[in-house]
């Protein structure tokens, strides 16, 4: 019976390290990507990442679609904050087309974008909690993400992959329920966020798990192309909203929170602080919107008949509107030739759209700058020499979203 039939690969007995596949469908990866870890006991010797499991060729598909049909593709990049991606895309198109949006549209967009940022950071931070062994926070804040999704629902009808807004504005004005829900959110959320912070920020276990886990210096972070909260946690105050204001962000007062060590704890704190800042921005925008009077208070889109669908009653009764409706739906409108790069501050950092148009109805080339894809390559450096359990918490605190990584 001593004879066994398992054939071991050459050299496997002499090998002193263990190979561990973390992913592609491991619960701790929160998405479909794989890490091949080489472990010495519990220490990580090296990590090799494999991405691309949900690659959907968006850039190729986009080469055959008119502009507004690309919006649903952007939903599926970082699906924790699809409105941000949608707005980024619309702003890119508007830059190409030279559309100027009314102030009220900008403020409405700011509200939606900041809500999306809160929902993105909320998921990320509560998942860090889950991976550190604290499930409560996650379940507790989930209610308030739900409230944000209800606001999306009032505005555009959908929740996760929102396809929110149009080129030039929104498809319809915000209704009273939407404003009531935003007000409710503004009223209730601060207490929740405070409690969430109380649960984690000075929690002994949480601090010991996250302080010093996956640190990165500012210099290395910049060299690795980090942006967003992960870069700010390393101490660099780069925020696209401030450096290249879009959608009237220059009208708002807010701080850019920064960390010092760039470890998981700093990333957590920066995200929490950003939620407070976002709340304050939403509040400011909400008040600014109340100040519009008369006809201005009803504006919810720019006047661009070539790209913005005419009102339905006009389509049924007026020839001109019917023609535009048909042309827009069929994507028969040629866009101006040009080359434009536009970026916004997404949930994970600088979300860029590089659009080349040759004057046809579809983009000649569209490239998404996905922050997640770019900073995930630092993962090996972040986890080298760390414990296996750190590897997991580093992964969740980077907020790696497979949809954004693979495009």
């Amino acid at each position: 019976m001593s004879e066994h039939h398992i054939k071991l690969p050459e050299g496997s007995i002499e090998k002193t390290t263990t190979t561990l596949n973390l992913g592609p469908t491991h619960p701790a990866t929160h998405g479909v990507f794989q890490n091949i870890l080489e472990l010495d006991g519990e220490r990580i010797v090296s990590a090799e990442q494999t991405v691309g499991y949900i690659h959907r060729a968006f850039e190729k598909i986009a080469e055959r679609r008119p502009l507004y049909q690309i919006t649903p593709l952007t939903d599926r990049l970082n699906y924790c904050s699809s409105p941000l991606n949608n707005m980024g895309w619309h702003l890119t198109c508007e830059k190409l087309l030279g559309v100027k949006t009314p102030k009220r549209v900008d403020y409405l967009r700011v509200i939606i974008m900041e809500l999306a940022r809160i929902s993105d950071h909320l998921i990320c931070n509560s998942i860090v909690g889950v991976d550190a062994g604290a499930y409560t926070g996650f379940l507790y804040v989930m209610q308030y993400r739900e409230l944000i999704y209800e606001i999306y629902e009032e505005v555009c009808g959908s929740r996760l992959t929102t396809n929110i807004g149009r080129i030039g504005g929104f498809e319809r004005n915000f209704n009273d329920i939407a404003f009531q829900k935003i007000e409710k959110f503004l009223k209730e959320y601060p207490a929740v966020l405070r409690e969430f912070e109380n649960l984690f920020t000075r929690n002994r276990i949480f601090m010991e798990r996250t302080i010093g886990a996956g640190p990165i210096s500012a210099e290395r972070a910049l060299n690795y192309g980090f942006t967003g909260p992960n870069l700010r946690a390393a101490g660099v105050d780069y925020d696209v909203r401030v450096h290249a204001p879009y959608s009237s962000y220059q009208d708002f007062q807010f701080d850019i929170p920064v960390g010092t060590t760039g470890d998981c704890y700093d990333r957590f704190l920066v995200r929490n602080q950003e939620m407070w800042q976002s709340l304050s921005i939403i509040e400011q925008a909400f008040h600014k919107i109340q100040e519009f009077k008369g006809a201005e208070a009803e504006v919810y889109h720019a006047d661009i008949p070539e790209y913005y669908l005419p009102p339905k009653q006009d389509v049924y009764t007026k020839m001109e509107a019917l023609i535009w409706h048909f042309k827009i739906i069929m994507g028969e409108i040629d866009m101006p030739a040009g080359e434009v790069y536009h970026s916004i501050e997404g949930g994970n950092g600088e979300l860029g759209f590089y659009l080349i148009s040759d004057g046809g109805r579809t983009p000649y080339r569209l490239h998404f700058r996905r922050p997640c894809f770019i900073y995930y390559q630092a993962y090996e450096e972040l986890t080298k020499g760390a414990m296996l359990s750190d590897a997991i918490i580093v992964m969740s605190s980077l907020n790696l979203i497979a949809g954004e990584m693979d495009a």
């Binding site: 192309g225 860029g352 630092a378």
Partner: protein, 190 residues
């Protein structure tokens, strides 16, 4: 002090003469190109020059222009000077039959995966890259899918069996084939 496009242009011309060409500024972003052999020299100059300091690689991708003979592939670098908050776009063009371009990984760690992605989709061979293999597509793939000679599938083609994906019989291209759901409604299936 503020760095303007004119200053950058002047610095580049001082250093490289007429090697750096095609200065334009679409939508305010200075765009220029250089021969592909010079890409690292230009990137290094932009990085090291105390006035320019373009030390952040925002984006790296390729574009395929099948009609430009000898310059079919463009590799596009978006660089950012975070101190003065200025962006530039730098392009190098290469022949598609010999798409060798020097790697920027020595300068920017972030270029590693971006170059792998560019190789994966356009077949640009980054000379000196530490690990140039496919990243988003499967390793077995033997073509570069984002090149223009691979058009997207014709959506009205009928020779493919798409029934498992909810298409096919639903659209009704296949004439004689009957929708199973309809058959149940008509009571023909028990």
């Amino acid at each position: 002090m503020s760095l303007t496009n004119d200053i950058i242009k002047q610095k580049l011309t001082e250093k490289f003469g007429d090697q750096v060409t095609d200065f334009t500024d679409p939508y305010g972003m200075l765009t220029f190109s250089a021969p592909k052999e010079l890409n690292l020299k230009v990137l290094n100059f932009l990085y090291d020059s105390p006035e320019l300091k373009f030390r952040f690689l925002t984006d790296l991708c390729a574009v395929h222009y099948p009609d430009q003979a000898g310059k079919e592939l463009a590799v596009v670098y978006h660089l950012h000077n975070l101190e003065d908050n200025v962006r530039v776009r730098f392009k190098v063009f290469t022949d598609i039959s010999q798409p060798d371009v020097y790697t920027a990984t020595g300068l920017f760690s972030s270029a590693n995966w971006m170059e792998r992605e560019t190789y994966d989709f356009y077949g640009v061979n980054f000379v000196g890259h530490p690990n140039l293999k496919r990243i988003l597509n499967v390793d077995e793939m033997d073509y570069f899918p984002m090149r223009k000679e691979y058009p997207l599938e014709d959506q009205s083609r009928v020779d493919k069996d798409d029934e498992m994906f909810g298409r096919g019989s639903m659209i009704g291209f296949k004439g004689e084939k009957k929708n199973e759901g309809a058959a149940i409604e008509e009571g023909k299936v028990n």
